[in-house]
Amino acid sequence: MEQADLSAVWLTLKLATVVTVLLLAIGTPLAWWLARTRSALKGVVGAVVALPLVLPPTVIGFYLLVAMGPNGPLGHLTQQLGLGLLPFTFPGLVVGSVFYSLPFVVQPIQNAFAAIGERPLEVAATLRASPWDTFWSVALPLARPGLISGAILGFAHTVGEFGIVLMIGGNIPDQTRVVAVQIYDHVEALEYAEAHWLAGGMVLFGFVVLLALNSLNPARRQTP
């Protein structure tokens, strides 16, 4: 493998790690709210979160590009904060990926929270745990399988994305050129041997991820 491939791999792992951490930080409270709220907004928020599941990545990429551009609302905001413009930068790629992978993280966590049911939370309350305390000491530990699935899915999905990267990231070495784009470049240049290395690696990675998820899934949770 040449230097460019290695740096694409490194960039991809960095992107996926940053995105996964952000997704857990954003997705967990969001999933908690979605699992517990009786608000009328639940349906709307749920639909917005799930939108990336049904839209082609290019559509999301396109709108994000417009929003983050010099005349978009996000672009205005980042410029005012002195961050410059996000398209075709690594932070821009992170923002796009967070949005795109959100449902893959929120849904397993939301399901895990919903599966806990009301009772353990009520028990915690009668044992003097405040709602905040209960969230950390009961809800999170009980939802652990969901959190792990969410993190794995979010990570894997970010590693594998292509459309959004092309739309808002472009193809800048060490900035936005991730493995999926690098493979595309190799194929375009008819460098099939190099493409094989990376593509084969992705297949292996995907297989390992699914294997890991499967070993988690029969989540042996006792319900005494």
């Binding site: 028990v123 009668t126 044992l127 209960t134 006792q222 005494p224």
Partner: protein, 366 residues
């Protein structure tokens, strides 16, 4: 400790309506008894603060936890109470010890540090779970889990213990395994217990105070013996089926040579098959109204051993037209007899009549 318990709740949810105003004693076990849908669980949840009822009021002594008239409501995690649910609901991610510590740790954050390990060991001993502390909840039997749940609730230093059908999910074997522990708690702890149940035998065995609930209303509330001996309560009969009867609190007086044990109670003495308890042990027994027959003259030769002098207080019809229910006074202790209307007429049963009550059988509780 803290004085009597005042509870006033009014909940309306579609068809279901709860409207009650209760005063419960500050000590002992108060049983809320009723069919499913009678509102007993809702009442318990309202006491715990898990449900907020408009217009509700709940206080233990001078400590008020809810007073909607002043828009005052203490959330459950700030109430010094323990709840035991029908399913033990142990936290599966914690060991038995971790479960027991859960409430204890949080209470101690606010209270001065005391001999906490002693208290945990003591409670574990009291409930017979000392050897289970390192186990995971999944490795316990149903009865053990429920005992851990009770211990966990006790360790959070409650001023009141609320139990929502704690035995209903268990088979008979497990029930019999737990009941002695509940009796032990009853004897050794001074905190009041509100015990929701629809099982007459549990109520007869454990309760000191009985509240009968029907369709969200309090039908009767008072000391167990008094409520059980009321004959004006069609609801009580419906609840206890044709099981009407009183509970007698007796004491083992003597083990006799011919394998009988003599029990003494306020109204006299009764003989039962030999018991293993030592002399002086308190024993509860239940005397069903259908097992009591009446005679005007003292029986000279009868196979029925237990015969006490009684006075008729009043009588009432039963749910079967051929029978009447008679309330008797046995030296201050209430007793019920269920006899045919024909017999009642033949004996000219009326209030104030002195006669003999023959007790055919006595069910010992425990």
């Amino acid at each position: 400790m803290s004085g009597e318990i005042q509870a006033r709740f009014c909940v309306e949810r579609g068809e279901f309506k709860l409207d009650m105003d209760l005063t419960l004693p500050e000590r002992g076990i108060s049983a809320l008894f009723g069919h499913s849908g009678s509102g007993k669980t809702t009442c318990l949840r309202a006491m715990a603060g898990l449900e907020r009822a408009p217009g509700g009021y709940f206080a233990i002594g001078d400590e008020v936890w809810q007073d909607e008239a002043r828009d005052f409501f203490v959330p459950p995690h700030q109430r010094a109470l323990g709840v035991v649910f029908q399913e033990a609901s142990l936290f599966p991610h914690l060991s038995v010890h971790g479960n027991m510590e859960f409430g204890q740790k949080r209470v101690q954050k606010h209270a001065p540090a005391g001999e906490r390990r002693f208290a945990l060991a003591e409670v574990a001993e009291l409930l017979g779970i000392a050897q289970l502390l390192e186990r995971a909840p999944g490795q316990l039997s149903g009865g053990e889990r429920q005992r851990v749940a009770i211990a966990r609730a006790l360790l959070s230093a409650p001023k009141i213990l609320l139990m929502d059908e704690p035995l209903a999910a268990l088979d008979l074997q497990r029930k019999l395994e737990i009941l002695p522990y509940l009796e032990r708690l009853h004897r050794e702890l001074s905190i009041p217990v509100v015990y929701v149940s629809h099982a007459p035998d549990e109520v007869a065995r454990l309760a000191d105070h009985l509240v009968l609930l029907e369709q969200g209303r309090v039908v009767a509330s008072g000391p167990l013996k008094q409520v059980l001996s009321r004959i004006d309560l069609p609801a009580a009969f419906a609840l206890f089926a044709d099981d009407a009867g009183v509970v007698i609190e007796a004491q083992v007086a003597e083990h006799e040579a011919d394998d009988l044990t003599r029990l003494e109670f306020g109204g006299g003495q009764i003989f039962v098959s030999r018991r293993s308890e030592p002399v002086g042990t308190p024993l509860r027994c239940r005397v069903h109204a259908r097992d009591v027959s009446l005679t005007l003259v003292p029986p000279m030769l009868s196979s029925i051993l237990n015969c006490v002098a009684a006075t008729v207080v009043d009588l009432a019809p039963t749910d079967t037209p051929g029978h009447v229910l008679i309330r008797l006074d046995v030296a201050g202790e209430p007793l019920l007899a269920r006899i045919t209307r024909r017999s009642a007429e033949k004996l000219e049963i009326r209030a104030g009549l002195a006669l003999r009550a023959q007790i055919k059988s006595v069910a010992l509780l425990g």
